[in-house]
């Protein structure tokens, strides 16, 4: 069964997964490097709080009608994935979910900036760093989304 729900997940659900979901939905064009303002226009970008970790955030429908979500799992990405896949089987939705870990695309700047901005709420210090890091990571995220689209079928 082709997946009906595509879930991009990372540590905090505030940066890489949000950007990947936006690329998937065409809110950010893969062909051009988005500006800082483009990133900041995205729902949740550098705004997610720790209370939102574990909550699936619906981003929209892609061109194939699949639902795209972002999710922050902290350091339990594999565990959350494993649990939700089993729960999906239980509720009769087996094969509907596709989890994509975006953490490997994250740059050091994103990690440090994200930590400062989200963990310590030092937004003025962390946000410029996270934006710069996201711009650096953008090509890798575009490649990841392209790979996902090829795998799940466009």
């Amino acid at each position: 069964m082709a997946p009906k729900k595509i879930i991009y997940h990372c540590y905090g659900g505030a940066h890489s997964s949000v950007v990947a979901a936006a690329i998937h939905l065409g809110q950010l064009k893969g062909s051009t490097l988005p500006s800082n303002a483009d990133f900041m226009r995205l729902t949740l970008f550098d705004r997610q709080t720790k209370d939102g970790h574990g909550l699936l955030h619906f981003f929209g429908f892609d061109e194939q009608g699949r639902q795209v979500y972002s999710l922050g799992c902290r350091n339990a990405g594999k565990t959350v994935e494993q649990v939700l896949l089993q729960v999906a089987e239980m509720i009769g939705a087996g094969g509907e979910l596709s989890f994509i870990d975006t953490l490997h695309c994250v740059t050091l700047k994103m990690r440090i900036g994200g930590y400062l901005s989200r963990r310590w709420l030092l937004v003025r210090l962390g946000r410029p760093l996270v934006l710069s890091g996201t711009r650096e990571a953008f090509p890798a995220l575009v490649r990841l989304v392209e790979k996902v689209k090829n795998e799940v079928g466009t």
């Binding site: 959350v80 649990v83 939700l84 089993q86």
Partner: protein, 150 residues
């Protein structure tokens, strides 16, 4: 309805909670060594069992009882399960996740260390002591989760 008893780092506490739920352990007295050792899944759990859900049985009301253990972030796992139920428009009571967590996770770390050192008997002994000291709390958790259904 499905009950998930969720542990951190090992399956000992969730296995005992599931046994209480299914009436395999009496709540009136603390279980002895034989009773604990006879409980299904009363064990540490291996590395690849992180997040794996085990079916333990069906209770008298026809509800299914499962256990699982995670290495980290149990609260994130709980939120994710609840969020997914919402996604499918299912009521939260469809799956009730009951945390069976140690207030001091270092104890589980000690158990893991003993196990790695090949001191399996001591590790199991520590697990039994931990279970006995948490038995009252587990009993209350089970009773509360069952009462929440009514």
């Amino acid at each position: 309805m499905n009950y998930f008893y969720l542990g951190l780092l090992d399956l000992y506490l969730p296995a005992v909670a599931a046994a209480i739920h299914l009436g395999q352990l009496e709540g009136k007295k603390h279980p002895g060594q034989k009773e604990l050792d006879a409980i299904k899944y009363f064990r540490r759990g291996s590395h690849d069992e992180d997040g794996r859900i085990f079916f333990v049985g069906t209770d008298s009301a026809g509800d299914n009882v499962f256990i699982l253990s995670v290495k980290v972030q149990p609260e994130v796992v709980i939120r994710a399960v609840e969020s997914m139920l919402g996604l499918y428009g299912l009521p939260l009571r469809e799956i009730k996740v009951v945390p069976c967590l140690l207030e001091n996770p270092q104890l589980a770390g000690w158990g893991k260390l003993l196990s790695r050192l090949g001191l399996g008997r001591q590790e199991r002994g520590l697990a039994r002591r931990v279970v006995r000291s948490h038995f009252g709390g587990l009993l209350q958790s089970v009773q509360r989760s069952k009462a929440a259904k009514r």
